[in-house]
């Protein structure tokens, strides 16, 4: 049974990690495309329109990948987590079905219109289709986050005698205090990824001395959007989220911050250190006293519960992984703010395009916002353990009762092989599109 749970979790983790490479770009990128299209409407300068259409090509490749890797996510609720689906389907089925019905179709239909219909529709309608693609992708994110928020902090439900959770209040799903901060944090993080992608393609063009005009535009846009979004990820949205964790999932908070023992007179913030689960302490720790209490409660002396305050079975079952995910995410986020602030400064001084070292650095930084986004989700999901629905349904109670571990391992290996191929094709295709660069409209 342990093998079973492990393979089910691994398959879900693997497929969702691979899937989320794509939506995290498309959500943010759609906003940047809308911005370019809007600038074109205002100024009638052709380069903005070219930029919008170029990034819609990148968007379309990512969207296709998102669709084909997204369908398995929907199916896996039933195939691998049948017990969970049976018990909670009446609730999370609502938001998931809405996602499938509304946002997915908004996005896919208007994407086709955007790509094919510019000449047919005229510029204002073309802008509108771009805007609806953006709306669809953000609605999709919102409904997925609403589903996840219910699992993190269940509201508006009733438990029947047979153990099923049934919906008692539909609107409560959307008034969930977990939802709003998590959604905004997620969207801003997605915008960070997109800004870095836009900026790094720009940096690549400038360094390669090809499509330089577009390169400068991309870099400028990427830096401005990147600066704003990386600040907003940390404050206030990141801050709101950690306050939610401390309020609703205090055991997870202790684990992700690496607090093994409750300290009297205020908790320190850990910058570096390796969790030692045997000795119940952090090895090689570097920490600043009292700062965590201040950040959490705006009071230097407030006590924060450590892991020693919770029973073993209430603590997340992989503390080191959770701790590292959280700390690497925060560390990367800090680096992003630094790089973007510096770049903005040089952009303002009109020197950015000539500082080769910084351009190289921006270009090579592009995988890291992806990593930070994925780690953010790892924090949410590992932090929720050992529960599927926090406080109510344990992860071990959610797996399919009749699927054997051998079958799951078989499909996991299949997914790994197929996604490896998919990843290769994706890289080749995106590489080709970037290499071609934005082209003026053919009329």
């Amino acid at each position: 049974m342990d093998d079973m749970l492990f393979f089910d979790r691994l398959q879900f983790a693997f497929t969702i990690t691979f899937h989320y490479i794509f939506p995290q770009l498309t959500m943010g990128l759609s906003l940047i495309i809308v911005y370019y299209k809007w600038r074109f409407l205002k100024t009638n300068v052709e380069k903005y329109n070219n930029a919008a259409k170029f990034f819609m090509k990148i968007f379309a490749i990512n969207f296709t990948m998102g669709v084909v890797t997204g369908i398995p996510m929907e199916f896996q609720f039933g195939t691998n987590w049948a017990k969970f689906s049976e018990l909670t389907g009446g609730i999370i089925g609502q938001t998931l079905a809405m996602e499938g019905l509304f946002s997915f179709f908004l996005e896919s239909s208007f994407l086709v219109l955007f790509i094919f219909g510019e000449k047919l529709m005229g510029q204002k309608l073309h802008f509108l289709t771009g805007f609806l693609v953006f709306l669809g992708s953000w609605a999709s994110g919102f409904l997925i986050l609403a589903t996840n928020a219910w699992m993190q902090h269940p509201v508006g439900y009733e438990i029947l005698e047979n153990g099923k959770y049934v919906l008692e209040n539909f609107s409560a799903l959307f008034k969930n205090p977990w939802l709003f901060p998590a959604f905004l944090h997620n969207q801003m993080a997605s915008l960070v990824t997109s800004s870095f992608v836009v900026a790094s393609i720009g940096a690549f063009y400038i360094l390669r001395n090809k499509h330089v005009e577009s390169g400068k535009l991309f870099l400028k846009t990427g830096v401005i959007f990147g600066f704003i979004s990386s600040l907003l990820v940390a404050f206030p949205t990141g801050d709101w989220n950690s306050k939610n964790v401390v309020k609703y999932q205090p055991a997870s908070f202790a684990a992700m911050e690496g607090i093994f023992h409750t300290e009297k007179g205020g908790a320190e913030i850990v910058l570096i250190g390796q969790p030692n689960m045997v000795g119940k302490k952090l090895d090689n720790k570097i920490a600043v006293p009292n700062v965590l209490s201040f950040l959490t409660y705006q009071n230097w002396d407030t006590e924060i519960a450590g892991m020693d305050q919770f029973k073993e079975e209430e603590l997340p079952n992989n503390v080191p992984m959770l701790y590292y995910s959280y700390h690497i995410m925060v560390g990367l986020g800090t680096i992003f703010i630094g790089v973007m602030t510096l770049s903005l400064f040089f952009l303002y001084r009109k020197k950015l395009f000539n500082i080769k070292a910084l351009l190289w650095f921006i270009m090579f930084l592009v995988p890291f916002p992806y990593i930070a986004n994925l780690l953010g989700w790892y924090v949410a999901e590992l932090g929720r353990q050992p529960y599927l629905v926090y406080g109510l349904l344990r992860t071990s109670a959610g797996v399919s009762p009749t699927v054997s571990s051998g079958n799951t391992l078989f499909t996991l290996l299949g997914f790994m092989g197929l996604y490896f191929l998919l990843g290769l094709l994706f890289l080749i295709l995106v590489g080709k599109t970037i290499n071609q660069g934005p082209r003026p409209t053919k009329i």
Partner: protein, 357 residues
Amino acid sequence: MEIYWYSIIAVVLGIFFVLDGYDFGVGIIHLFFAKKEKDKVVIAKSAGLFWDFNEVWLVAGGGILFMAFPTLYASAFSGFYLPLIIVLWLIIFRAISLEFRNKFDYQMWKDIWDKAFGISSLLLALFFGIALGNVVRGVNLGGVSNGISAYEAHYFFLPLWDSSFSPLSEHPGIIDWFTIIIGLISVVTLAIHGANWIILKTNSSVNDKLKTVVFKLTIVLAILTVFSLAIWQVVNPNSLNNFIDKPYLIIFPVIYFTGVIGLFFVKRFKKDIYSMLFSTLVILGGITSSLASLFPVILPSTNKVNNSLTIYNTSASQYGLSVALFWGIIGIIFLIVYVIVQYRFMKGKIDKMDYGH
């Protein structure tokens, strides 16, 4: 309330099989009849321009099933674990073969993706038919062996096949001689449907030949149908009861046979759209007849110990179902309007249209 949602799911699934059905069929025809490069491109394009918004209906159907009948969703998806995951792989494979074929101008590259597109379409059509066969045959709910359930009464697990390949064995597998026949019916039907779509939407050089193909396949379909109806009685002896109790349900088989008969006249139609309409009737009639023969059961039990799964013992709460009706109906109307707009936007022959993305 359950009946509303059952009907909505039937409509969504019906639309899915009509729409995505033709692009599976296009793949099958592509595999066997597209020889010249020009035909290969245009035939693949007649699926490639549309597949993604056809598959929106699969996503919508899956989501609605999850919301309205969570117990059925959980039971069927875990019980049909392997075939479902294999279907997912095939869908992914098919999607990438359509999207990537024309990205590079190497003959080998194109050949690989052409074959991948054809074979994955063929297997998908086969698997969807086999799935329908499994539903009407029923499954061993509760994993009963010697009168004792091995697990909860509404769960089951089917291996891909059982060494006897018989639908009548105590533990039938996914693939047996009955489900294979239903699978073949599905392949033939969708091949006809796909051929009709190619004739309607393209100017390929094989269009005339395809009309003959449709005609011949319709003969095969008629024979397979009669044959399957005979063994249907052996596999599921109760399958006619509903039609006897509620004679108005006969409308569904009538739709099916109208479609089959209509297809025999494929060469005489003045407009290509007519043969497309008749193959649509075959698909809709086939699905609805199968569902009607089971109603209100959705997944019959093959043992006497555990009850079949019905729309009443697998549904979500009444409150949930009624709240969802508000947004569900709005959503479906949106979706239908969107399909109409989309297809009007891409009306006419597609040979001259730009290849997407």
